[in-house]
């Protein structure tokens, strides 16, 4: 069973390698203008060069830092708010219409407003990222809390637990799969918003770098940046999935 999984993975890698090779062929024979599509060799070269001069590493770190802090702030606020709203029907009745209106608002539409209020600062970038990544966490938390098995709440009441310990001992663990799913979504949003903010506000980072590369027609640099962003997205998603599996071990064991 394990071997066949390995075999499948290898075959799947082979297909990916084949596609990269196809890309190389297209670039080599200039089927698409090299201005738009440099071969993977040139993109890789640009990637290596960027890292060896140390330029790209700094930019990558700046983007990661921005994304991480914004996401962390959003997650903490989202879980706290979500827990408050999710356990109180009255609060939900008051705030739900407003949340419904704010939720579909594109977070990037807040960027001009944030620039106007906070200026072109790192605080502005963090505020926008936190605002955008807040929604998935908040809504998932509210949903997770309201989807808790009602009998568990009854048990809590029967045991005479306080509201805080009901949240801590019953609702939070039982809503944690939803919350973690929301946080994963929030991380994706955080990465996107970091890139957008860097593009618009000109903060140093990968987003700014690829935009400048595109403007000066440095296609290999651009593709290197895009590949790096893809890798960043992938690694963060995997890291969170691993974390999720660790945290939810009890849940799988119970089944």
């Amino acid at each position: 069973m394990r071997l066949s999984r390995l075999g499948r993975l290898l075959a799947s890698f082979a297909v990916a390698a084949l596609l990269v090779w196809g890309w190389q062929l297209i670039a080599d024979y200039k089927l698409v203008s090299p201005v738009f599509l440099p071969g993977p060799d040139r993109a890789w070269g640009a990637l290596v060069k960027g890292f060896s001069t140390g330029d790209l590493g700094v930019k990558l770190l700046a983007t990661v830092e921005r994304m991480f802090w914004g996401w962390l702030i959003a997650s903490l606020i989202g879980i706290a708010l979500g827990a408050a709203i999710g356990t109180s029907p009255r609060l939900r009745a008051y705030l739900a219409p407003m949340l419904e209106f704010l939720r579909p608002l594109p977070a990037s539409a807040m960027i001009p407003v944030a620039i106007a209020v906070l200026g072109l600062s790192n605080g502005m970038v963090l505020a926008v990222i936190a605002f955008g990544a807040l929604w998935p966490v908040l809504l998932a938390t509210i949903h997770g809390f309201s989807a808790v098995e009602p009998r568990l709440y009854e048990v809590g009441r029967a045991l005479g637990l306080s509201r805080a310990s009901v949240i801590w001992k019953i609702a939070l663990p039982s809503a944690s799969p939803d919350i973690l799913a929301g946080m994963r979504l929030g991380l994706t949003v955080a990465l996107i918003l970091s890139v957008v903010c860097e593009m618009i506000a000109g903060r140093d980072g990968l987003g700014n770098w690829i935009l400048l590369a595109a403007r000066s027609f440095r296609a290999p640099d651009l593709y290197a940046g895009v590949i790096l962003l893809g890798m960043l997205g992938y690694i963060t998603a995997v890291a969170l999935a691993v974390l999720e599996a660790r945290l939810l071990v009890w849940r799988n064991r119970a089944r």
Binding site: S12, F36, Y94, P104, S108, L222, G233
Partner: protein
């Protein structure tokens, strides 16, 4: 209630401190600005640009995603073979495609449509695939017992069973389409609502900027509400159950 109270509070605060701010405006000024840009047509024009780009990109991305999702859901070996490729492309943030689209298409509708399509494709594909995997196995057993052909199985069992969840995917993709379209406009493309709000900010017209913001929120809300309504109409209880998640 709460929003109304907040609006009144904001109005009072702006009146008391005097609305000379470069970044914020009193709600009454925002309403005035809103009607001003509404009646000179710039708002409607921008809305049209945004919706056309978002809609076209959504249609293209949604269609490709649906087709790929059904294909991968049906042909398991293909799904496994493409796994690495898809997992390598999917995590690329949609806005990272922006500079590439800018290089290839220049500014304008096509570039925006390409990015919107790219970002709509993945959720539709993945949710379609998982919707097909999540079909009650007994239904598939029934189809086998009835000796349906593959095509009949897709048409009569798989698609109807997966449709409510596919609809959820489309709803998600539609809201993503609007968000991405506005984002692209703010970041680069001189078109539509996103560009309008950026220009208003740079012209130091906070009332106009916030009017745009409110309008974008309203468009997003209406789009969402319309899609929910459609989902409920089409699928009744099944749709509603899924909509909660």
């Amino acid at each position: 209630m709460v929003p109304a109270a907040l609006i009144v509070l904001a109005e009072l605060a702006m009146r008391i401190y005097g609305s000379t701010s470069m970044s914020l405006a009193a709600p009454s000024d925002i309403v005035a600005a809103f009607f001003a840009i509404m009646f000179d047509g710039s708002l409607l024009l921008a809305t049209r640009d945004t919706l056309v780009s978002a809609g076209t990109g959504f249609a293209a991305g949604g269609f490709i995603g649906l087709a790929l999702g059904i294909l991968f859901g049906l042909v398991k070996p293909l799904d496994r073979l493409m796994e690495v490729t898809i997992e390598a492309i999917r995590p690329i943030p949609s806005v990272a495609i922006l500079p590439i689209a800018m290089l290839v298409f220049g500014f304008g509708y096509r570039m925006e449509i390409a990015i919107v399509a790219f970002s709509c494709l993945w959720p539709v594909m993945i949710m379609t695939r998982s919707a097909m995997a999540g079909i009650e196995p007994r239904l598939l057993e029934v189809s086998r017992a009835l000796r349906l052909s593959t095509w009949d199985r897709v048409r009569k069992i798989v698609l109807p069973a997966a449709l409510p969840r596919i609809m959820v995917a489309f709803r998600l993709a539609a809201s993503i389409a609007l968000v991405v379209a506005v984002t692209v406009e703010i970041a680069a493309n001189p078109l539509g609502l996103g560009y309008g709000i950026l220009v208003a900010q740079q012209a130091l017209q906070p009332a106009v900027m916030l009017a745009y913001l409110v309008w974008i929120g309203m468009v997003g809300y209406l789009l969402n509400a319309g899609l929910s309504l459609m989902q409920q109409r089409l699928f009744g209880r099944a749709g509603r159950v899924e909509a909660a998640s």
